[in-house]
Amino acid sequence: MKIIVCIKQVPPSGGIVVDETDRVQIRSGGVLNPCDARALAVAVMIKKRLGGKITALSMGALSAESTLRQTLAIGADEGVLLSDKAFRGADVCVTAYTLAQAVTKLGGADLILCGQQTTDGDTAQTPFSLAARLNIPAVGFVKAIEFTGETPIFIQELSGASAAVEARFPMVAAIGLSAAAPLAASLKERLDAAKKPLKIWGLSDMPDSDGSNYGLIASPTRVIKISRISTEQKNPPITEPPADTAERILKAVRAVVGGR
């Protein structure tokens, strides 16, 4: 079983910094995207059952190498980082194209696992866009994994219902937060991760090495403006002991209806 897990380094919570000139995020370090941590946990679970090899694939700044090393410690067998100035500023469409190029170069995969969404871009479209680029099926919003014999069954969250989708390889699955608990590496695994293979590929390594098909210039999305939304809280949160709240409610009710 050949599994590719797409992972992304995202800013720590609340840490998104945007370059004011081209409105592209400045990336300098960060953490493994929470849904991707679950996708990796699912990959490790499937590999335990069916055997095979896990490749962690990421597009990002060179700082994302540390996050890829983390995935190698947790259970990936090899890592590939797509990092090149030409890839900078890619929107979801072009990110999927770049990842698809790398998947092709890797010789394809039986199963490609992605996190359902990231905490920075948050479009939740990359997995499906990637599946479309590779012309393979995708299942999204996976909230649990079961097995029928050796076949993984993806339990998909639908509005108010669930669907059980039997895996038919090759395919893409987008994994949600509840699908699996994240894994932690042991100290030994974390130290040994430095010895596992990690490749860095740039534009010239891609099957399509025409720079005009990558990054900001190839992206149909145009960011016009980024603004912080500030919400004004009209009523302060209730922090008093419940007995005080009860007393205030009682007072308010008495003021309206009277009584002792």
Binding site: P12, S13, G15, V17, I26, S28, G29, G30, V31, L32, P34, A37, S66, T67, R69, Q70, A73, L177, A181, P182, L183, A184, A185, S186, L187, K188, E189, R190, L191, A194, P236, T239, E240, P241, D244, R248
Partner: protein
């Protein structure tokens, strides 16, 4: 500045802190500078009403809970004046007392915030990011990295204090204030910290955080003893080992219960089911290879003692989820008096290797 009559509904939050105690108050004021802070304290003195200075009210012992009179909130004393280089070449950051730990860290992490081409940090980390400089200074807060960095007061190079009569005094060190008779601090008299100059430390580039889980308290203590004796023996380790934090099984169980409600804990797996104690160790420095070989020695020691599982992470951003466990532990451990048995449910190793409790 307006001295506002206390409206219990509007200002209910100002009657409590994290101790869970509730007090009462007659007036409240939100000074923005030294003159207004003096005005508030002078008002309390003139009208012979007591005053309580409040930071972020994250204190665990009720020290910010008013007992009538005037509440002086420092929440509008939030100016960060900026950094400067001292004669010794070191850098300091001058801030008003209502500035929080988070605001200091955000300021220093700013994209282009370099000092002589280097990154600097404020070392004390009492984990509660909302705590203010005034509160941390007066409590002399102790951070999870107390082993390397000691107490808050060790990182203050000068400060300005407004006394109960409204007059202002400057101090060269926080320790001087905490024991000084002129401000009345030693007699429990009211005073308010206006601003402070915080000593910055050159920031390390490599960070490791490791959780070691044990089947009992004894093995955890043996492990801590082993790490501390290595630290005593070798120069490099003295600097590399930044934090040692101790948890008992009950604290682990209570932190685990909080996982669903606390988003900062959700990036972690469940603690190992048989863990009855844990030690969190943090190492940092600039020599990554040296840190890794030191960690190999820790791993050997852990194995020899018969420890069970470990979790390890590297990178300052990634170890935040481990620090979040330390933060949650303070919240769930209860006050020291409620801690179990010998009162050691959770604690930090200080510079001398003693386990102490955040206060």
């Amino acid at each position: 500045m307006e001295i506002i009559a206390f409206d219990k509904d509007k200002y209910a939050g100002y009657l409590r802190d994290e101790s869970g105690l509730t007090g009462r108050a007659d007036f409240i004021a939100f000074p923005r500078d030294g003159a207004e802070l003096s005005e508030a304290l002078a008002f309390a003195a003139k009208n012979a009403v007591g005053a309580t200075v409040q930071g972020a009210r994250t204190g665990l012992f009720g020290a910010a809970v008013p007992r009538g009179g005037l509440v002086i909130s420092t929440e509008k004393l939030t100016r960060v004046y900026g950094a400067c280089q001292g004669a010794d070449g070191g850098y300091t950051l001058r801030v008003q007392s209502g500035v929080t730990l988070k605001e200091i860290n955000d300021y220093l992490r700013g994209e282009r915030r370099l000092f002589g081409g280097e990154r600097y940090a404020f070392a004390p980390n009492p984990t509660e990011a909302n705590a203010t400089v005034g509160g941390m200074l007066v409590r002399d807060a102790i951070g999870l990295n107390a082993l390397r960095s000691g107490r808050f007061s060790e990182h203050v190079s000068s400060l300005t204090v407004v006394k109960g009569d409204g007059s202002t005094i400057g101090y060269a060190t926080a320790k001087e204030l905490l024991s000084d008779k002129r401000a009345g601090a030693d007699r429990g008299e009211i005073f308010a910290v206006l601003d402070a100059e915080l000593r910055l430390t050159k920031k390390d580039s490599v960070f490791w955080g490791v959780f070691y889980f044990f089947d009992g308290k004894k093995t955890a203590e043996e492990f801590i003893g082993g790490l501390l004796s290595r630290r005593a023996a070798r120069g490099f380790l003295r600097d590399a080992l930044a934090a040692l934090v101790w948890f008992d099984g009950e604290v682990l169980r209570r932190v685990s219960e909080r996982r669903l409600a606390d988003s900062s804990l959700q990036g972690l797996p469940e603690f190992p089911a048989d863990a009855r104690a844990a030690v969190y160790a943090e190492l940092s420095g600039d020599d990554g290879a040296a840190l890794e070989s030191e960690l190999c020695v820790h791993a050997e020691l852990f194995e020899k003692i018969g420890g069970a599982d470990t979790w390890a992470e590297t990178g300052e951003d990634e170890i935040q989820k481990f620090r979040a466990v330390c933060h949650a532990a303070v919240e769930v451990a209860g006050r020291p008096k409620e801690n179990d048995g010998d009162g050691s449910a959770y604690g930090y190793a200080d510079k001398d290797g003693n386990i102490v409790f955040p206060s």
